[in-house]
């Protein structure tokens, strides 16, 4: 299980890195076309926006795996280690509840979009929305894994956000 999690994390890291690369390329080309060739492609801005949404949601799940999301620990650190561990488990469970709702309602959004087509690229909007349930599904899996580790009284995984 731990191994599977590591592979998943690596895969997502390379995915976000590639999206980031494409984003820079697309926006740079947009400027280049405007000034060098005096033309513009109608779809660059829309494509950049949708790729950005994908980047945000996938990067969010990478951060959950790395426990890199920002929190406020000024109060919690004053409690005993035992209370801290229980609070940690509780915070994972609460995060899981929210993530389940997002998966469910993200799927709703996808289902409701029907055969709606994006204005410029003419891709189905469902193709853009699908990243919401998918990424939060991954987040649910990661949180379940973290909860099971925490309940088994292992110390919380201490990999830091930045390498």
């Amino acid at each position: 299980m731990d191994r599977a999690m590591r592979i998943l994390e690596k895969a997502m890291e390379y995915l976000v890195a590639s999206i980031m690369f494409f984003l820079v390329t697309i926006v740079f080309i947009q400027v280049l076309l405007r000034y060098v060739l005096q033309t513009s492609l109608p779809w660059t801005e829309e494509m950049a926006r949708y790729l950005f949404v994908w980047l945000v949601f996938i990067a969010t799940s990478v951060c959950v795996k790395k426990e890199a999301h920002l929190g406020i620990d000024v109060i919690v650190v004053r409690f005993s280690p035992k209370v801290q561990r229980h609070l940690y488990t509780l915070s994972l469970v609460l995060s899981l509840i929210f993530s389940i709702v997002v998966v469910y309602k993200g799927y709703d959004l996808l289902a409701r979009s029907g055969d709606q087509i994006s204005p410029m690229l003419h891709v189905p909007m469902s193709f853009v929305y699908i990243i919401i349930p998918i990424s939060y599904m991954v987040i649910c899996l990661v949180l379940l894994w973290q909860i099971s580790r925490s309940v088994k009284q292992e110390s919380p995984p201490s990999e830091e956000g930045q390498e």
Partner: protein, 424 residues
């Protein structure tokens, strides 16, 4: 009842639930109680980040990471050294000056503190400055990172408050320089009081040499700001250009970066992006709820009951933000508080650009304020000292920073004059 959401939010925050999840959970709870359709959650999370202007955030993060990986910080420090190294207490001035230059490349105070601190703190130690003083100088100087343009918090504020990002960037320039100058004056007096030595003036030849070595990095803010002002490109596009420029200079001109370093930098920047943008996505649900509940109006009423005077109001908000900034990350605080306070101050006739710059300065100071200041942590990590040690050394700097904050707050031309000059 309307303020219930804020109460739930605070409870979740203090349970150390990540800020992004806390915002989502508090909104979810209120929506269930009020029986609002939950599909709004996924809609708002999507629309909150589906924005071309916000794309500037990952670009400026990446540009900063790219410049640092390309060894540009070292060249900037050398140039700053030839300029101000000969003043009494020289290395502190070098740290401040280098932070100001680096701020013109990066849009974040953390990146600024890390880039300049990792070079200057060890160098200052070697020359006999105490670890806590070196750390404090770099943490305080790093605050200009998000005040001198470009600035990530200003992009976020501009998008959330529908304020021109270009006008905000211009607004940050003068206050950023003021902070730098004020910190250098303080460093001079500390140096005199403690009898720090002077170094020899290195001469114009040396300045010219180091300038040539770093000029390609130093003109970067000019390209960004000039390009946005001249209407050549948008803030987002300028971010992409900064990345490509940094990559080109790092790979082919300075040759300090290799192709295989790139994936690592891209992953690192993506993760930072995820940390910031998740909060923006769930904060969109929260913003929607506080807007339909007219929370800003209610907060405004509370303030109105206390004062009718915009100056007093501004002082109250400043103090509140300073307190929030000590225990909460700058961007998160900005994302949550700006939509609440902006309508309040607008009602008092305060210019949204001026307010934005003041809020960003305020929260940047929070990053260097104990107990929770990210820049302090970064500086402590580099200097290998405890938070307690740096706390003792940082307070004179904090007093100066807060003095400049109030000066900027009450002298509006500091933030608006440059913008007016360029027609904003």
């Amino acid at each position: 009842m309307e303020l219930l959401i804020l109460l739930i939010l605070f409870v979740l925050f203090f349970m150390n639930i990540p800020i992004g999840f806390s915002l989502g959970l508090a909104s979810l709870t209120v929506m269930v109680i009020r029986d609002l359709p939950l599909i709004t959650i996924s809609q708002k999370m999507f629309s909150g980040v589906d924005s071309f202007p916000l794309l500037a955030v990952p670009f400026f993060i990446l540009a900063g990471d790219m410049m640092d990986a390309g060894g540009i910080s070292l060249r900037i420090v050398r140039f700053a050294h030839t300029l101000v190294g000969h003043i009494r207490g020289g290395l502190a001035h070098v740290a401040v000056m280098a932070s100001m230059f680096f701020a013109g490349i990066s849009g974040s105070s953390i990146a600024d503190t890390a880039a300049v601190g990792s070079i200057m703190i060890p160098a200052m130690n070697k020359s006999g400055y105490s670890k806590s003083y070196s750390g404090a100088v770099c943490a305080a100087a790093g605050s200009v990172g998000c005040i001198i343009p470009p600035s990530i918090p200003m992009v976020v504020y501009g998008v959330l408050g529908d304020v021109s990002v270009a006008a905000l960037f211009l607004g940050g320039a003068i206050p950023g320089v003021l902070i730098g100058v004020a910190l250098m004056i303080l460093a001079y007096f500390i140096a005199r009081a403690r009898g720090f030595t002077k170094e020899k003036w290195s001469g114009f030849g040396e300045i010219w040499k180091t300038l040539r070595n770093s000029i390609l990095a130093l003109i970067m803010p000019g390209i960004i700001v000039g390009g946005i002002m001249g209407g050549v490109f948008t803030a987002t596009e300028s971010g992409a250009i900064a990345v490509v420029y940094g990559l080109f200079v790092g790979l082919f001109v300075f040759r300090s970066m290799r192709l295989r370093d790139i994936p690592r930098v891209l992953i690192r920047s993506s993760i930072t992006t995820g940390m910031v943008m998740m909060i923006i996505s769930t904060a969109a649900i929260f913003r929607y709820l506080i807007t339909i509940d007219q929370v800003p109006q209610k907060i405004a009423d509370i303030f109105l009951a206390m004062t009718q005077n915009p100056y007093v109001l501004f002082a109250l908000i400043n103090v509140l933000l300073l307190i929030v900034g000590t225990f909460m990350d700058t961007l998160s605080a900005l994302i949550i508080l700006a939509p609440i306070f902006l309508p309040v101050v607008k009602g008092f006739g305060v210019d949204p650009v001026h307010f934005g710059v003041v809020v960003v300065i305020n929260l940047a100071i929070g990053m260097a304020t104990p107990p929770l200041g990210v820049c302090l942590f970064v500086a402590c990590g580099i200097a290998k000292i405890t938070l307690r040690q740096i706390t003792l050394a940082i307070w004179p700097f904090l007093i100066v920073l807060i003095a400049v904050l109030f000066l900027v707050t009450y002298v509006t031309p500091t933030t608006l004059w440059l913008g007016r000059l360029f027609g904003f």
